[in-house]
Amino acid sequence: QKSSENIFSKLSKAVIGKSKVDEDVLDQLEEILITADVGVDTTIKVIRRIEERVAKDKYLSTGELDVILKEEIAALLEENNTEDLSNFDLPKDKKPYVIMVVGVNGVGKTTTIGKLAHQFKQAGKSVVLGAADTFRAAAVDQLILWGERVDVPVISHGMNTDPAAVAFDTVKKAVEMNADVVIIDTAGRLHTKVNLMNELTKIKRVMQKFIDDAPHEVLLVLDGSTGQNAFLQAKEFTRATDITALAITKLDGTAKGGVVIGISDQFKIPVKYIGVGEKMTDLQVFNRKEFVDSLFKKK
């Protein structure tokens, strides 16, 4: 908190009594945003907006810059329908509500699924998980252990089986069990691997044989410490599976996850969840204001 104020007082001091934000201030702002992984394009966009505001408002008092800055960055997220959820609610008219979780290797998909299952369960919903990562060593075991930890059933066909068949079976069993939510884990895959990306399309299609509008949500998990490559991930996963929401993980570290600002600006995909640790309770619904605040905080 203290160091965040320092950055702002520094910025504000440099700007007092000026009708234009000078080079020095902008340089500092640039550094803050770039080192938060916001990316050059989005940083330039934010700086332009600030310049415009400052030119219009003429004089800025200490603290006002702080507010303007945060407003402008939050606006980038807001314009792109990143509505803040207040809790782990789900649409009532879809039962079961089917969520498919995708992303590159090691970002935190399986862990996020475990945490989500816990949250939905806490909210009184019945949850079924599908172990459709049949590829990575012990991936099925990992999900089963999460299932035990949060006490929800896991449907699995074991390792090296057809992931689409697992997904189909999970949805089918969930309907039989009258469950509220289905979450399908998938193997990590780099977005550059065409065959693996096509596999996701197939998993989707197979589920639709059973529930024609499934999956209702395709959640792309991004590692908060990822840099500009996250853009390419968002682009390619969107192309293959129509991503409907983002989850940003590992924000308990020093990485700021700023790349998500540019991503939601460009792809209009809302951020829904953030991961802040490895425990089952370490998942939060995304809060725009807190996220923007955290960009300026030194950890």
Binding site: G39, V40, G106, Q228, K250, T254
Partner: protein, 305 residues
């Protein structure tokens, strides 16, 4: 936003055409483009500044031959500088000791367990007796994961599923290695954040107990600006010997390679280029420099995956 540097520089260089020498004035906008390209490639902001300052100095006053455009010359200078930055000190791996111990460290999900398996497989192929040790006592099914890999490559895995003390497990593993004549021991550890003091203390203690001949820091090539902070803290606490850069089979530029080298000055010893056990390679600074600059030589990596 990811059009490659040559394109960008060509654009910037338009203004340079017809000048015979690189001067302060004509180099400014080009250096800015290079800096931007480095930042786009996830080179740390401060590091990119320092690197481009050096490049500017190198470039100033250089004659532009008729054969090369100023743009080509600057790219060459940049590539040389980056290669130099990431190369340098020899990147041998030290396997002295009886047994020789290799300690694997890094953030969550960076590819430690997979790399442990790959490295074990590589050593086995060289005829070494290897033991893999499962010291990740936290992540669900971490031990199973290592066991599956060990089975795949035919390397024994030492684990104590009921033991919740990583240091004890490590010590027991060394005793076991001695007893069974394993000359190299690879210790897989749990992923941890640099800011997690309890976990950082654990790996410090592991290092102290094991006295490894090699401590490796495994880092995801997709890592952004934060790579410097993480590498710095891990290095302060572990004084690691080398870096492993993973997931290079994708299209990440891998600017973290420069940032880390610049900040902790430790060599990159291996790269990881896929999920399969044979996807391990030695590091080539020149190829990496080209990759960071978006110069195309990534294709060979992608194809091999």
């Amino acid at each position: 936003m990811f059009d490659n540097l040559s394109l960008k520089l060509d654009r910037a260089f338009k203004t340079l055409k017809g000048t015979g020498k690189i001067t302060e004035i004509n180099v400014a906008s080009t250096v800015k483009e290079i800096r931007r390209a480095l930042i786009d490639a996830d080179v740390n902001y401060k590091v990119a500044k320092e690197v481009t300052d050096t490049i500017r100095e190198q470039a100033l006053g250089r004659d532009v031959l008729i054969a090369v455009s100023p743009g080509q010359l600057l790219i060459k200078i940049t590539q040389e500088e980056l290669t130099k930055l990431m190369g340098g000190s020899k990147a041998d791996i030290n396997l002295k000791g009886d047994p020789a111990v290799v300690l694997i460290s890094g953030l969550q999900g960076s590819g430690k367990t997979t790399f442990s398996g790959k490295f074990a497989s590589m050593l086995k192929k060289q005829g070494k007796q290897v033991l893999l040790v499962a010291c990740d006592i936290y992540r669900p099914a971490a031990i199973d994961q290592l066991k599956v890999l060990g089975e795949q490559i035919g390397v024994e895995v030492y684990a104590e599923p009921e033991n919740k003390n990583a240091i004890e497990i490590a010590n027991n593993a060394i005793a076991y290695a001695k007893k069974t004549g394993k000359k190299t021991v690879i210790v897989d550890t749990a992923g941890r954040l640099a800011v997690d003091d309890v976990m950082m203390k654990e790996i410090e203690a592991l290092k102290k107990a094991l006295n490894p001949s090699e401590t490796l820091f495994v880092v995801d090539s997709m890592t952004g600006q934060d790579a410097v902070n993480t590498a710095k803290t891990f290095d302060e606490r572990l004084n690691f010997d080398g870096v492993v850069l993973t997931k290079l089979d994708g299209d990440s530029r891998g600017g973290a390679a420069i940032s880390i080298r610049h900040v902790v000055n430790k060599p990159i010893k291996f790269i990881s280029t896929g999920e399969k056990m044979e996807n391990i390679d030695v590091f080539h600074p020149d190829r990496m420099a080209q990759r960071i600059l978006g110069m195309g030589d990534v294709i060979s990596l992608v194809e091999r995956a």
